[in-house]
Amino acid sequence: MDQLLDQFFNLSIMQQVFPLLVKGLWMTLKVCAIVIPVGAFAGLVVALCATSQSRLARILTVPYVDLFRAVPPLVLLIFIHSGLPFAGISLSPFQSVTLAFLLNNSAFYGEIYRAGLESIGAGQREAARSTGLTALQTNIYVVIPQAVRNVLPDLLSNTIEVVKLTSLASVVALPELLYSADMARSITFNASPLVLAAAFYLVLLWPVVRLLSRLERRVAA
């Protein structure tokens, strides 16, 4: 029992590595602050293309969405970070991570928005267009607000996945939360930093998870 406490819940070690992990958390938040809003917006654009009147736009979005949904994000990340330099494109770990996750993420958000857009009947568009609104105005004021509301639980759920996904960035030595914790572990020969990192993720995501279950219950009702 003592050994367990010492190896996993060693408070003095946690105290020592706390500043390092806070720095890691900060980096995780920085990645999220770019990848989530930009990815969500790009996903919306992808979904609008996928459901647009233009055949060309529809045809072009299919391979994009399929590719980035099928390729594991870890593979994509390693390819961007370690493969692209052979083509003369060298990206910093931070750039590689944001690019890889944006590509992956916009495809996933895109599919969610698409389901939302398709849940809105043609009558809504027709009513809006019949009053003289342009196609863009119809999307902005009539279709998208309803579509987003219909898939809000899925959007949030995907957002939680994205936050957890950022831990993959440790493989390209981006000092985010998990990388910092693992570094602390190897310095201290003790697993407590990992437990602390898990606690950080929990504190960060638990409110979102709560909100999500409440939303899901409301939608089900």
């Binding site: 009947g121 019949s130 009053t131 003289g132």
Partner: protein, 273 residues
């Protein structure tokens, strides 16, 4: 022709003659609000409209009846180009809707439309539904749009429901909000696509009452509907469509009292009994 030559010399594209033709229709009080000529519509290889000609004069209420699949709804939806016609001409207040350069959004705000399934925006209140186009199409300031929206809702007897969402309104009330939404833009023509077909029988009266008031106020209306009693009482003219053509038209007394064509008689005996 001289003008065209002048344009050609200046290197302007040859799309000009159409525009000139558009302008030469002088607007007189007798100009039909809606003037449809030779309208055809094909979906793939099926010809749904096979050459429709119809004029609707100012303040007229024209009723379109016919069996389902006769093309009457498609015809109505062509009149604001929700459905893209295959060929023909549609002039609204003298402006050719099918001209290449027509600003269809500007024309649509002059043509109100009311749908069978209401199509209110569920995420907005009744007032919000009416205000949206006032704000975004007519670019009205918020306060003015709000006042106009409330006035339009008042006209359909729903001033006290302005703050309600569609889900809190009955079908009849929803359809009257939809009428207010179209009406607020002060259209010159209103299209009704089976406005009472989705309503419980006891709610039909309130919507027809609203349409009767519009007629009394001098609105020009083209109505596709199965409300034969309303047609007999309120319509100036009844048009019977079948198989993508207008079979016959005339005052309600003639169409309902002494239909000339066998197809009209057969249809009327089916729906009136």
């Amino acid at each position: 022709m001289l003008l065209i030559h002048a344009d050609a010399r200046r290197g302007l594209p040859a799309a000009r003659p159409l525009l000139l033709a558009q302008v030469d229709t002088a607007l007189t009080p007798d100009t039909p609000i809606l003037d449809v000529r030779g309208l055809t519509k094909r979906f793939g290889s099926t010809e749904v409209l096979k050459g429709i000609d119809l004029k609707v004069r100012p303040q007229e209420l024209v009723f379109v009846i016919g069996p389902s699949g006769s093309g009457k709804s498609t015809f109505l939806r062509c009149c604001n180009r929700l459905e893209e016609p295959t060929d023909g001409s549609i002039r609204v207040a003298g402006v050719e809707l099918l001209a290449h350069k027509v600003d269809i959004n500007a024309m649509r705000r002059r043509i109100g439309m009311v749908f069978q399934s209401f199509n209110l925006y569920p995420h907005m209140t009744a007032r919000g539904n009416v205000m949206l186009a006032l704000r975004k199409v007519l670019k009205m300031p918020k306060e003015q749009a709000r006042a106009e929206a409330d006035a339009a809702l008042d006209r359909v007897g729903l001033a006290d429901r302005a703050g309600h969402h569609p889900s809190a309104l009955s079908g009849g009330q929803q359809q009257r909000v939809a009428i207010a939404r179209a009406l607020a833009l002060k259209p010159e023509l209103m299209l009704f696509d089976e406005p009472t077909s989705a309503l419980d029988p006891e709610l039909v009266g309130s919507v027809l009452g609203g349409m009767r008031d519009l007629k009394a106020d001098g609105m020009t209306m083209l109505v596709v509907s199965h409300e034969m009693r309303f047609a007999q009482e309120a319509a100036d003219r009844v048009v019977f469509m079948d198989g993508g053509v207008i079979v016959e038209e005339g005052p309600p007394s003639a169409i309902f009292g002494a239909p000339k064509h066998e197809r009209t008689r057969a249809f009327l005996s089916r729906v009136l009994n």
